[in-house]
């Protein structure tokens, strides 16, 4: 846009009024409420000095907390991706009594305060709770492949890393359903018919034709659920048991550091969490943009 004849303009002219006022309010509020406070966080973390930052960042307790937060969030997001996809499919494709009610209920985790969900889940999955008491006799050895996150399931969910996952599944569920649903609704029926006429089985049609089209939205939902789960606090702390090194999540560690007036320590852990989250969200967006470039909106 910058050339000799048309000088650079940072905004297009318009006859509508109020641009300055509206943008002024927005930028001022954004700066005061969000940007300056976040900058203070980074500043505080940096002020700790390299040696202290390294010490906090690599302390076993910090690493254990970050690892728990990220792995539990990852598995919760995976569970939500699978069940959220099934749920979205069922809600879009099938007609059954109560469908609209269930559709509405999916948003419950958005509406229910996290502390309420937290104490409720803790009560349900506690050893004497409705589900916890059913699970107690089911003790078995559970190990998750490709990670060292393996724990013998001793019949307990509440007050273990499994409990953390349960809470994170609860709060992440709507993200996947709500991002996948509109995409499923807009799928053209002729593509499926074409596949069937070309001789593809229903299975092949779903896995080779439909799912690849849904994948970008599924990935978005996954990343949103994951990002939310990593930072989640209220619904987790009641069910987690909060045992240092075992079921202590990173946000809780920040609170603990803060209660010990270790502001720099809290800031360092918080900064690490934010940076890792932002990197993951950015990666998700890049994959999305690539898919959109290639497949377009035919």
């Amino acid at each position: 846009m910058t050339s000799a004849t048309t000088p650079f303009r940072w905004r297009e002219p318009s006859i509508l009024p109020g641009f300055g006022l509206a943008l002024g309010i927005t930028v001022t509020a954004l700066s005061l409420i969000v940007l300056i406070p976040l900058a203070a966080l980074f500043l505080k973390a940096a002020s700790a000095g390299p040696a202290d930052i390294w010490a906090v960042a690599t302390s076993p307790r910090t690493l254990a907390a970050l690892k728990l937060s990220f792995t539990a969030a990852l598995f919760a997001a995976l569970v939500n991706a699978v069940f959220g996809l099934i749920l979205a499919w069922v809600l879009v494709r099938y007609d059954f009594p109560g469908r609209r009610l269930i559709d509405a209920a999916v948003d419950l985790p958005f509406a229910l305060p996290t502390a309420v969900a937290g104490i409720s889940l803790a009560a349900i999955y506690a050893p004497n709770g409705w589900v916890g008491s059913l699970l107690a006799p089911l003790a078995f050895k559970l190990s998750i492949p490709f990670t060292d996150l393996s724990f013998g399931f001793d019949g307990k969910v509440a007050y273990t890393p499994l409990g953390v996952m349960v809470a994170l599944i609860f709060i992440g569920l709507p993200f996947v359903v709500r991002t996948v649903q509109p995409v499923l609704e807009e799928l053209q029926s002729d593509v499926e018919e074409a596949a069937a006429l070309l001789g593809a089985s229903r299975f092949r049609t779903i896995f080779r034709v439909i799912l690849p089209q849904v994948l970008p939205a599924l990935l978005t939902g996954f990343v949103l659920a994951f990002a939310r789960a990593v930072g989640e606090y209220g619904s987790v702390i009641f069910i987690a048991g909060n045992v240092p090194m075992i079921s202590e999540i990173a946000p809780l560690l920040i609170v603990i550091r803060l209660e010990q007036f270790d502001y720099a320590g809290a800031a360092v852990v918080a900064t690490m969490m934010l940076l890792i989250s932002f990197a993951l969200i950015l990666a998700g967006n890049l994959i999305q943009a690539r898919a959109r470039r290639r497949f377009g909106d035919v």
């Binding site: 109020g18 099934i86 419950l108 104490i119 990002a227």
Partner: protein, 296 residues
Amino acid sequence: MSDATLPTVSAAMPARSSGRARGESLAVQIVLIAISLAFLLLFLLLPLVTVFVEAGARGWEAYRAAITEPDALAAIRLTLLVAAIAVPFNIVVGIAAAWAIAKFEFTGKNLLISLIDLPFSVSPVISGLVFVLLFGAQGYFGPWLQAHDLKIVFALPGLILATVFVTFPFVARELIPHMQSLGSADEEAALTLGASPWRVFFSVTLPNVKWSLFYGVLLCNARAMGEFGAVAVVSGKIRGVTNTMPLHIEILYNEYMGAAAFAVASLLAGLALVTLVLKTLLEWRYGDVIAASRRH
């Protein structure tokens, strides 16, 4: 004009009603529906029902006592007060942001949108932490505040700041896509007819977007009243003074007063249900105007 693009009965029907090439077998359908229902039952319905069951476990009198004792009432008052300040603030900023973004073209617009969304990807605990770092006793402005006998952290201003941070994107997020899809033609027409800028806004723009504004306010309010992590960090949890309802629930729960905790929780769960019902009604009734973003 072709058959498929015409909204005639004959054209619309075949694509929808055909089950031959598209459906799964009835057995598969039943299995998938059963899985979905079981999953929702376990992860959504059970927690909700538990709140009300546990709340009533000790009977009506205990329930009434739990929600009318002075600390509980103080928590309810404080929660309402925080929401009553934070939500209107976000309405004003959300409308301003949507006006600037939807009605004008300017450099850095996409960056601005991303920054407005930023609080969604920040842990609530960090949302509280940043204000402690700024205004806490050892924070950047701590000494100055102490010298002037001002309190932000562990006081009402801190609760409000943390709540505003957490709920910052809600209103703007609903308004921006809706106002963008409406364009500026209505406003331009009103201006050429000689209406004053404020009149244009209040009698043209606002009525056009009222339902998506309401939708955004609804979600913003639910989050403001239910926020836990961010306010937990800045509150100091002084009973009767800086305890909001979610924090009061935590304290009761940690003191093994489960029934009382669930009693207060049932009030917030009721709020959640009302929010959900209103939200659903809005989506059914005005789903076409409330633009896409149904994800937070």
